[in-house]
């Protein structure tokens, strides 16, 4: 997975330019977040905030709630520590939000005020500012222009630099009518030729606008999992509130006077403030991480859902294999040598401009076939879905054809009344069994042989699918190939299952059947016919280069148009949840040590025997309480990097993962505060009297 980290780091560096400003801005923002309307959104920190004000009052009038040990200095110190606790929590959230905003700012720079050339009804051009464009307007852009807004290409072919959106500087060829590459995005730059496109979004609704809005994340919704966790934390806090509130009369019965400041300190120490403070930052950072991977998630919920995915549906062509097949072999029927087949194939593909055709030509040349001069007078025949063949009408009248075996067979039967050679089927099956697609080549009524068109697996696929398997994710390959070819490729690639000869309806059918089994399904897609399946899937990743319907049906868009990006998104989703769980465990485990610090401190004076509980040998009751509280505050900024970066996710099975995380965050959470509080206490006792 190092390749991925590199890519995200590259992008991170792009934003790093504003790192220093980021911290400063976060510091300022975190002060603004002291507003109660902000605080109340986080129940745990809200209680801390209230406690801060309470102890602040007590600093001025220590006897406000009755005489208690402590004094103004002590109360003031408690208030100050609580202030820092809330501030650190605010800082965490502000920092996370700030990083998102930095990205948004970078994006905003690309959205300059451009003048667009709108095509009026009569065909003339008028100059209109980008904000003046509306959905349905036709706009023309020429070389060097910045595309003013999102649209669907109507005419022209051009090369477009989309680095403003994707960060990739390699230009993309855009042309109309194709499923992919027929849309343009506002803010990108056209490098060559010209385009006419139809505006597909009103101002403020463009892709760039939505990206900015999402990335800013200030008004994002809480995801269901986050809500559930917040409920849990709130109830735990409520329980501790009851414990602390009832402690005062319980202690009073034994003639122990507990000051309100100490009670507040105990409450704050007990509450899961660590996770409470960092929870929102974790969520924001999670979406932010996805964005750094060039994946635009429509909501935090989509990222979480990705972590839960159990079944992955991937197209074969372009995802698992290279987009274009390549000719790898010529197989001659009895009586024909390889050279003959190669020559015939080359003839049939001479005018074939597709990548497959060109690979046939280049393979033929390596097999010794040569261009014949008569071919200059020949005529090429393009592939048609009806004939399922393409070819060349040679100058001497010979019809050289290549295409699907069944189609070619029908061709020679209908046009030449020629019998189909028995060996043809065998040759085709030989090719299919190797995982390639057989194309029959014929010169008039004589089928000379078979071309093997092979898929080339993208590098590293096998490893990726093994990785998925350890996570418990089932992979399904979808292809239009015949079953034999599909099975071979599926075996080579290492997917768990495949669907051959797939039609668009098949995708939805499989998604539904998987969902009926209670599994969550993710799929990638780019074409309009993918849109229903993308909508049906629990996680739909659309390619940025795809059509608008696909992008709208999906809940995530990959700006790199790399379908295997889904694997990274799964990791990010899981990482998000793991970080939440780990910090929650750590937060609760911390409480044990804090009890050992604070309970003896509170009761030792009146119940001397309790000194035995003071296993950390803290100096005085007051330093003990303050140390625990300071630790509680300091642990927040210390864990901010972990919250923002996320717990490192290793692709292991659930049990190993649980063991590891329980060990680090559970046992660690038990031990770390003992050390931390002791150290702070030693430092504090040097000057606290």
């Amino acid at each position: 997975m190092n390749e991925i980290t590199h890519r995200s780091e590259r992008k991170a560096q792009a934003y790093q330019a504003q790192a220093g400003g980021l911290v400063k801005r976060a510091l300022w923002e975190s002060l603004r977040k002291f507003d109660p309307r902000v605080q109340i959104r986080n129940p745990v920190m809200f209680i801390v905030w209230l406690g801060m004000w309470l102890t602040f009052l007590l600093a001025f009038d220590p006897d406000l709630f009755g005489r208690a040990a402590g004094g103004a200095m002590y109360n003031a110190t408690v208030a100050a520590i609580l202030f820092f606790t809330v501030w650190f929590a605010n800082f965490a959230e502000a920092l996370a939000e700030g990083r998102g905003r930095a990205q948004a700012d970078a994006l905003r720079h690309t959205k300059t005020d451009v003048l667009a050339r709108r095509i009026k009804a009569d065909g003339t051009l008028e100059s209109v500012p980008a904000e003046g464009l509306r959905k349905g307007d036709r706009v023309r852009v020429d070389r060097g222009d910045i595309i003013p807004t999102d649209g669907e290409i109507l005419e022209g072919i051009a090369s477009v630099d989309e680095s403003a959106i994707t960060g990739e500087s390699a230009p993309v060829l855009k042309e109309p009518g194709t499923d992919m590459f027929s849309t343009v995005t506002g803010g990108t730059k056209i490098l060559s030729d010209w385009l006419v496109f139809k505006v597909s979004a009103d101002p403020g609704q463009t892709f760039l606008d939505r990206m900015i809005h999402l990335v800013e994340g200030a008004r994002r919704q809480k995801t269901p999992n986050e809500i559930a966790l917040t409920v849990l934390l709130a109830v735990l806090s409520l329980i501790f509130l009851i414990v602390v509130a009832t402690l005062k009369p319980l202690a009073a019965f034994l003639h122990i006077d507990l000051g309100v400041a100490t009670l507040v300190a105990l409450l704050v120490a007990l509450m899961p403030t660590t996770i409470g403070a960092l929870l929102s930052a974790i969520g924001i950072a999670g979406i932010d991480r996805a964005t750094r991977f060039n994946v635009l998630a429509m909501s935090g919920r989509a990222v979480e859902a990705a972590g839960d995915v159990q079944t992955l549906m991937l197209d074969k062509t372009g995802t698992i294999t290279m987009g274009n097949r390549q000719a790898t072999e010529f197989i001659g029927l009895p009586g024909f040598e390889e050279l003959a087949v190669a020559q015939a194939a080359m003839a049939a593909s001479w005018f074939d401009t597709t990548p497959e055709g060109r690979s046939i030509v280049s393979l033929a040349m390596t097999r010794g076939a040569r261009r014949e001069p008569s071919w200059d007078q020949a005529q090429g025949l393009e592939f048609s879905a009806e004939t399922r063949m393409s070819g060349t009408n040679l100058a001497d009248g010979t019809r050289a054809r290549k295409g699907a075996v069944a189609a070619v067979a029908r061709f020679i039967q209908e046009n030449f009344k020629a019998p189909v050679p028995a060996e043809l089927k065998e040759a085709a099956e030989t090719v299919a069994r190797k995982g390639a697609t057989p194309l029959a080549v014929t010169l008039d009524g004589t089928i000379v042989g078979v071309i093997a068109l092979s898929d080339v697996l993208k590098p590293g696929m096998r490893e990726r699918f093994d990785y998925m398997r350890t996570l418990g994710i089932r992979t399904i390959m979808v292809t239009g190939d015949n079953p034999i070819t599909a099975r071979v490729i599926a075996g080579q690639a290492g997917v768990d299952d495949f669907i051959a000869e797939a039609k668009p309806e098949d995708k939805i059918r499989v998604i539904r059947s998987e969902q009926a089994k209670g599994r969550l399904v993710a799929m990638t897609g780019d074409g309009t016919n993918d849109a229903p399946a993308l909508a049906q899937a629990d996680v739909g990743l659309a390619m940025h280069s795809g059509t608008v319907p696909a992008k709208e049906a999906a809940n995530m868009i990959d700006l790199d148009s790399d379908p295997t990006k889904l694997i990274d998104v799964v990791a990010i989703g899981k990482q998000l949840l793991i970080t939440r769980g780990a910090l929650t465990t750590f937060s609760i485990a911390n409480d044990v040590a804090k009890y050992f610090a604070m309970l003896p401190a509170m009761f030792m004076r009146s119940l001397p025997g309790l000194g035995a509980l003071n296993i950390m040998h803290l100096a005085t009751p007051q330093t003990a309480v303050l140390s625990a509280l300071i630790f509680n505050a300091l642990i927040i900024p210390i864990l901010i990097p972990l919250a923002l970066r996320g717990v490192r996710f290793r692709p292991t099975g659930a049990d190993a993962l649980l063991a590891r995380n329980v060990l680090i965050y559970g046992v660690g959470g038990l031990i770390v505060p003992f050390v931390g509080i002791k150290v702070i206490d030693m430092a504090l006792s040097l000057f606290w009297h």
């Binding site: 269901p224 999992n225 559930a228 966790l229 409920v231 849990l232 109830v235 409520l238 329980i239 501790f240 009851i242 414990v243 602390v244 009832t246 402690l247 009369p249 319980l250 202690a251 009073a252 019965f253 034994l254 007990l270 979480e304 972590g307 159990q310 418990g472 994710i473 089932r474 209670g518 599994r519 989703g573 899981k574 990482q575 949840l577 793991i578 939440r580 769980g581 780990a582 465990t585 609760i588 485990a589 409480d591 044990v592 009890y595 309970l599 009761f603 119940l607 001397p608 025997g609 309790l610 509980l613 099975g653 659930a654 049990d655 993962l657 649980l658 063991a659 995380n661 329980v662 559970g666």
Partner: protein, 575 residues
């Protein structure tokens, strides 16, 4: 611990665990409507009883709400009936010692107490209740409360077993209730009662026998239908005794044999329900994990209590008592314990009783060493060490849901339990169930300690007094019923507050868990993969245990520090 003590405990626990497996399977068969060997005799009986209650009523399909409502309505009527009988017992038959009716507060407390399976008794049985009341107002709700708890647990199990209809028909409360009586409770009671009588437990309608003592003077010996009450008291994890001294009384628990029988009766249902749960949800390994976790807590508690009691206290040593067992005497802390049980038989009984929230005692808890008393208190605070009939398993599963939630996050998946996703609704319900317990323990305890109403009833001072009050409300909230009996709680204030705590602790908890079950049942199942958190492993069992201990400790440690822990430190001032 002595060698014989160790073997006593090991054998009793071994027999109990051994019995629970076939019994658990039997319970599963009874409540899944499968054939059992008693069918030929009992099927017609069931049918007859169902006809009386109403054919339509007992065939009505019920979801979790149906169960909740049926439970509340039936329990309310039964409680009301008990209240009435107790209030007018003066004019009812079989009242040989001419006791008058109980005052309204006491009657309310007693009715609430018995219908909630708590059996907290603010009265002394032999000097306050007529024989008719012991039968019709005490034995009766014991059966009802036991059956209610059992039925509630079964409904929950069915909901978790991923029913195909999403939980719309979990069964029928009345039908299940009748079966609980005819297949489980009554057969066992009918058979075990003669064993107790054989050993010396009275079973008669005579109210009292007058003995003319050899040294002169007269001793009035109270009698009555003791044995049959005793059996359902233990089997139904009720706990209310015929006599004030409960199972310390020689008539309730005459011999070591009856002691063993009574302990086994307490344990068998709650142990078996774990097995039944495993069968219902088709995950036997999960049942083993649950067994192990609760078993660790139980065995640990027993070990600590027995050792603490055998070690005694410095005060006992200072008064010249032989604390070491041997030379024909049992040693240890024998204050408030019976000779025939010794230290081991008493500590075992009482620890099991508080773990299984029965609440009966064969020795005085108030006189236990601080550590011994703390174990009992702690087990009730956790309220999930097997626990009372049905409700204990529910509580344990509630902790399980929290453990699954956090552990599930830590393996990077939306947490799921038994194939169902745990989302906001489930967490809210489980969290409320968690919240109720400390709420109804700590708030009333604090009020009692701060007001003369509460403090005037204390039998001991300072930390032990605090423990007495804390114990009372914990016992009520956990529907246990045992007490540090130095607390004279038969006052209007205590009767009312304890009564309310018992009612809330019982019904709110059950309803919350039923709602949780219903919510889970209605969800679609998610299939398990290599990435799913496995709940039936030792690793998760350990995490579950840690969750229970940490959450329980965090909630109750301050109160324990002021109570039993302070006493421990006072007893051993130099560590």
């Amino acid at each position: 611990m002595t060698a014989s003590g160790f073997w006593q405990i090991a054998l009793v626990l071994g027999i109990a665990f051994g019995l629970s497996i076939p019994f658990g399977a039997y319970l599963a068969r009874v409540f899944r409507g499968e054939r059992t060997w008693l069918d030929p005799i009992l099927n017609p009986v069931d049918a007859f009883l169902c006809r009386i209650v109403g054919r339509r009523t007992t065939a009505l399909p019920m979801d979790w709400k149906g169960y909740a409502v049926s439970m509340l309505v039936t329990n309310a009527m039964m409680g009301l009936l008990v209240y009435l009988i107790l209030s007018i017992q003066g004019v009812l038959p079989w009242n040989p010692l001419r006791f008058s009716g109980l005052n309204p507060f006491l009657a309310f407390n007693t009715a609430a107490s018995f219908i909630t399976n708590t059996d907290w008794q603010n009265y002394a049985g032999e000097s306050a209740l007529s024989l008719f009341s012991q039968m019709a107002a005490i034995t009766f709700p014991m059966f009802a409360a036991a059956a209610t708890g059992l039925v509630a647990a079964i409904a929950f199990f069915r909901a978790l077993a991923a029913p195909a209809d999403g939980g719309r028909n979990l069964g029928n409360f009345y039908h299940d209730f009748i079966r609980a009586l005819t297949r489980v409770l009554l057969p066992l009671c009918l058979v075990v009662t003669p064993v107790l009588v054989w050993q010396g437990s009275p079973e008669t309608l005579t109210g009292v026998a007058v003995a003319h003592l050899m040294q002169g003077g007269v001793q009035h010996i109270p009698l009555g239908p003791v044995a049959d009450l005793e059996v359902i008291k233990q089997l139904g994890t009720n706990g209310g005794g015929f006599f004030a001294a409960n199972s310390a009384h020689p008539f309730e628990n005459p011999t070591p044999l009856t002691n063993v029988v009574e302990i086994l009766l307490m344990m068998v249902t709650s142990l078996s329900l774990v097995v039944t749960f495993g069968i219902f949800v088709g995950q036997r390994r999960l049942a083993w994990v649950m067994y192990a976790v609760m078993g660790v807590l139980l065995v640990g508690g027993i070990a600590v209590t027995v050792c603490a009691e055998q070690a005694g206290t410095p005060a006992l040593a200072a008064s010249g008592i032989m604390l070491q067992a041997g030379h024909g005497q049992m040693g240890g802390n024998m204050v408030g314990k019976e000779t025939r049980f010794g230290v081991t038989g008493s500590a075992l009984f009482d620890t099991v009783s508080t773990a299984f929230t029965t609440g009966s005692v064969n020795s005085a808890l108030d006189s236990y060493t601080p550590l011994g008393g703390m174990v009992s208190l702690g087990q009730m605070m956790l309220n999930c060490v097997f626990g009372g009939k049905g409700v204990g398993t529910l509580n344990f599963l509630m902790y399980g849901i929290f453990a699954v939630f956090i552990a599930g996050l830590m393996v990077g998946r939306t947490p799921e339990f038994l194939g169902k996703k745990l989302e906001r609704r489930e967490i809210v319900l489980a969290a409320l169930a968690l919240l109720i317990h400390p709420l109804i323990i700590l708030l009333p305890a604090a009020w009692a300690l701060a007001s003369p109403y509460g403090v005037s009833a204390l039998g001991n001072a300072a930390s032990h007094g605090l423990s007495e009050i804390l114990y009372a409300f914990t016992s009520a909230a956990a529907n246990n019923g045992s007490a540090f009996a130095g607390l004279q709680a038969n006052t209007p204030w205590y009767n009312s507050v304890l009564g309310l705590v018992m009612l809330i602790g019982r019904y709110v908890s059950i309803i919350l868990m039923l709602a949780l079950g219903g919510s889970l049942a209605a969800k679609p199942s998610v299939s398990a993969t290599a990435g799913t958190l496995r709940t039936d492993t030792a690793l998760f069992g350990g995490f579950w245990l840690a969750t229970i201990i940490v959450v329980g400790a965090l909630t109750f440690l301050p109160a324990l520090v002021l109570g039993p822990l302070a006493e421990i430190f006072m007893m051993h001032p130099h560590g």
